[in-house]
């Protein structure tokens, strides 16, 4: 499991803002000999068919030495198993032709549980929907990060200075927000942030952010909500 972080850039000419995003992806690391590794993968997939369906996967080739055509072959082999490769890692850039996925770098290890629990390995019964919210019933301490790209996050307790909550949907904090809250990270502009007491270091919705310095002092220590209107991040007190 890696987190792929891309750099952000803003093009000066024309009005095309480019925003950087961090995404979670699985990392597959083939080990030589490749045939045996594919065999192991097949054995594992038999118990978890469809596990990789529709999921982003990065192929880490640092443990093997493959030619360009061998890489293409490996990718097509994985394709027949329902594994789509979004990027390659640990391989020289020269080996990558236009037909191969792009090279990614700067991946950081991330816990696999939160990500994989989203979708059970076997297809769920039709009635069960994927969870669209996450409830955290303990304080989020400094240095901890809650990452939930699939929907809303509710925290019963405070979010400490130096802690962060990242949600694809809205963020609800029943306590003091002293750290960072980033809502709507998957491009959901309608996402909002609510907290019962604002002391935040940073608020962001869909990439538009305000740091503590930009917050209206009148709102500090107040219950607030934050939402996006156009390109402005608005914050107002909740009565």
């Amino acid at each position: 499991m890696v987190e792929v972080t891309e750099l952000s850039a803003t093009r000066q000419r024309g009005a095309m803002p480019l925003r950087g995003r961090s995404y979670m992806a699985f990392a597959l690391t083939p080990a030589p000999p490749i045939a045996d590794w594919l065999g192991e993968l097949d054995a594992w997939l038999r118990g978890a068919s469809g596990f990789f369906a529709g999921r982003p996967v990065v192929l880490d080739l640092s443990a093997v030495t493959l030619t360009s055509s061998a890489i293409a072959h490996l990718i097509s082999e994985l394709g027949t198993r329902g594994i789509r490769i979004m990027g390659l890692e640990g391989v020289a850039a020269e080996k990558l032709g236009p037909a191969l996925p792009p090279l990614v770098s700067g991946g950081r290890a991330a816990p696999v549980e939160a990500f994989s629990s989203r979708q059970p390995a076997s297809p769920p019964p039709a009635r069960d929907r994927e969870p669209t919210s996450l409830l955290v019933d303990t304080p989020v301490r400094s240095g901890q990060s809650i990452f939930f790209p699939d929907g809303d996050v509710t925290v019963l307790g405070s979010v400490g200075s130096g802690a962060e909550v990242v949600a694809g949907g809205s963020i609800h904090i029943y306590g003091t927000l002293r750290g960072r809250a980033m809502a709507g990270t998957s491009g959901r502009r309608s996402a909002r942030i609510f907290c019962t007491r604002l002391e935040a270091e940073l608020l962001a919705i869909d990439g538009y952010y305000r740091t503590a310095e930009d917050l209206d002092a009148k709102l500090l220590s107040k219950p607030i909500q934050a939402w996006l209107a156009g390109e402005t991040l608005n914050i107002s007190e909740i009565d």
Partner: protein, 271 residues
């Protein structure tokens, strides 16, 4: 079976070692068997604060590596016969500690003593995580300063995730000890108030130790304040904290300025 307590803080210089020595001595004065363990390998201090620096032969690393047996490394206090010190090594570094070795030593200490009090090094690296790894309960030492409080918050998060107890799905009991509390500065709003610290960290309060030159003097004399300055305000605060740790219910005394600024002290926000 004894109770293993880690004294930790994240930030350095907040009073972990002083508090370890003072609480250890306070518990030992009630006749219980206490060992204070210095986990600050490479930067040991507890031997100095305990006044045992000239009697160190073997240390924690020697025991972990099997060079010495545990009883050989334990130093009995000259003033309290139920108080012992297991010193750290000054010449080695924290990489010499292994998890298996620490587990063994802690298990051994647990069977010999009523209280095993581990003085954690500052930081969140290997030394600090190993010191908390096998603890039953934790004392978080914080000063009423924003930097110290945020580091304490970080440490509480680690206590809830990186300890054996947390990995078993159990809850580690945590106690907050606010040290170096200056009532005059708190009253002027130059320090966080006790309420602010409690609000941020939301763990139970074990005690509030007033800032005092007598603590410094005791450390320099090589004696825990609960031995050499028993009548001082910090010694009283540590004695009360030790009794609370042992399960007694004692009214919490928040140090105030002599003029009785209690009302000013409460409900006040510091920057």
């Amino acid at each position: 079976m004894g109770k293993v307590i880690v004294v930790t803080s994240g930030k350095g210089g907040v009073g972990k070692t002083t508090s370890t020595a003072a609480l250890g001595a306070a518990l030992a004065r009630t006749g219980q068997n206490v060992v204070v363990v210095d986990f600050d390998v490479g930067l040991r201090n507890l031997d100095l604060v305990m006044g045992a620096e000239r009697r160190v032969v073997f240390d924690l690393i020697n025991v972990v590596q099997g060079v010495a047996k545990l009883p050989q490394a334990l130093i009995r206090d000259k003033r309290l016969e139920t108080l012992y010190l297991l010193p750290a090594s000054q010449t080695r570094d924290k990489d010499a500690l292994t998890e298996e070795g620490i587990a063994q030593v802690i298990g051994d200490l647990r069977s010999r003593f009523d209280w095993v009090i581990c003085d954690s090094p500052a930081g969140i690296e290997r030394g600090a995580t190993l010191a908390m790894r096998f603890a039953d309960e934790a004392i978080i030492v914080a000063n009423p300063e924003v930097s110290s409080v945020r580091d304490s918050d970080r440490i509480i998060g680690l206590l809830d995730s990186k300890t054996v107890k947390a990995e078993r799905g159990e809850r580690m009991a945590k106690h907050l000890l606010i040290a170096r509390f200056d009532p005059a500065r708190a009253a002027r709003g130059e320090m966080l108030s006790v309420e602010d610290v409690l609000e941020i960290l939301s763990i139970p309060l074990l005690g509030v130790i007033p800032e005092s030159e007598e603590v410094l003097r005791a450390s320099n004399l090589g004696a825990p304040i609960t031995i050499c300055g028993q009548q001082s305000a910090p010694a009283h605060a540590y004695m009360d904290a030790a009794r609370r740790l042992a399960g007694e219910e004692i009214e919490m005394m928040i140090p105030t300025e002599k003029k009785g600024l209690l009302t000013k002290l409460f409900g006040r926000r510091a920057a």
